[in-house]
Amino acid sequence: MSAWWAVLGGAAACYLLKLAGLSVPASVLDRPLVRAVADRLPIALLAGLIAVQVLAGDRGVVLDARAAGLLAALVLLLLRAPFLVVVVGSALTAAVLRHVGLMS
């Protein structure tokens, strides 16, 4: 029962937070401060997400097949590969390295 409270309470909170963002009056965004921060947020959050998704382990930073996949993505992006190739390339790199047992 307790889990249902977490599920429904958390879901309601998350929806209201999403709605709040879309509902703030446009005039709020016209402030230079909000603009300067909001413009940089995606960069910082995406970079933070990458770091956490790729490098974070149970006990601090780990370099495993996920990092190799990210490196492959970086190379493919520098070669101007299309989005799907980048995504599939990073997955294949990690999958192959794991399959042959080079990396976990």
């Binding site: 307790s2 889990a3 977490a6 599920v7 309470g9 958390g10 879901a11 909170a13 998350c14 929806y15 937070l17 999403k18 709605l19 963002g21 879309l22 509902s23 703030v24 446009a26 230079p32 401060l33 909000v34 300067a36 921060v37 909001a38 940089r40 947020l41 995606p42 960069i43 910082a44 959050l45 995406l46 970079a47 933070g48 997400l49 990458i50 770091a51 956490v52 998704q53 490098l55 974070a56 601090g60 930073v61 097949a65 190799a68 996949g69 990210l70 492959a72 993505a73 970086l74 992006l77 989005f83 980048v86 995504v87 390339g89 990073s90 997955a91 790199t93 990690a94 999958a95 399959h99």
Partner: protein, 232 residues
């Protein structure tokens, strides 16, 4: 306007749809790992599917089942999920003027405000392309995320570890590709590297999931400093 001046509007629309579906597939498939983790954390299949349907924001969902699985209370679990969900409020602030939806549409669109739908729309040069990116990504992630949550929850053991297919690495690659246009100038690269370092340093210090929010704090600090410098 566009970085591809010779591209027609229809071509641009098709490119946005194609890229958005790519993100939708990569992210949606990862729902299988959420389904499996959630059931392993002690939630039942219905609760797991309810999370993906109603909460529909991956990091918050993972955080919630993680807290409950490690013995956290319902309040702590919901609060952690909500704190991570504040990210979507900030996305909404950016999206509202870009998408320009009012009334009932805004209530529906709000549910689709997630990392991927935001990333696939905020860099678009026009409202039409932004809406296409937002809706295509949002809907494809929603449908596949829920479908694979169900599959992961009921058949996790049969399907196997998504890591076998490198899907965990694909998410990192997808995020990097989304971030790529913002890494073309030195300020963007510096901010991204700082935020990534801060997220990693914060990792052992704050509950799981929160490092991303702390990294968002870097944008707050840099943005405030920038606005002060620009002010008369």
């Amino acid at each position: 306007m566009s970085d591809r001046p010779l591209e027609s509007h229809a071509e641009a629309q098709r490119r946005v749809v194609r890229d958005s579906l790519g993100v939708g597939i990569a992210t949606g498939l990862y729902g299988a790992s959420f389904g499996a983790v959630s059931v392993a954390s002690g939630l039942d299949v219905v609760q797991t599917c309810a999370l993906s349907l109603l909460m529909f924001t991956g990091a918050s969902q993972f955080a919630l089942v993680g807290v409950l699985g490690s013995g956290g209370s319902a309040v702590t679990g919901a609060l952690t999920a909500a704190l991570l969900g504040t990210r979507n409020t900030l996305y909404g602030l950016r999206l509202a003027p870009l998408l320009g939806w009012r009334g009932a549409r805004r209530f529906g669109a709000a549910h689709l405000v997630i990392d991927e739908s935001t990333a696939m729309s905020i860099t678009r040069p026009s409202r039409a392309l932004a809406r296409t990116g937002f809706l295509t990504t949002g809907w494809s992630v929603f449908v596949l995320w829920n479908l694979f949550t169900l599959l992961g929850a009921i058949g996790g053991a049969v399907l196997g570890d998504p890591r076998t297919y490198g899907l965990d690495a694909a998410v990192g690659g997808a995020f990097l590709a989304l971030l790529w246009p913002r890494l073309q100038d030195r300020d963007g690269r510096r901010l991204a590297l700082t935020a990534a370092a801060v997220a990693l340093l914060a990792g052992p210090l704050v509950p799981s999931g929160l490092p991303v929010l702390v990294a968002g704090g870097v944008a707050l600090v840099v943005g405030v400093l920038h606005a002060r410098r620009e002010a008369p």
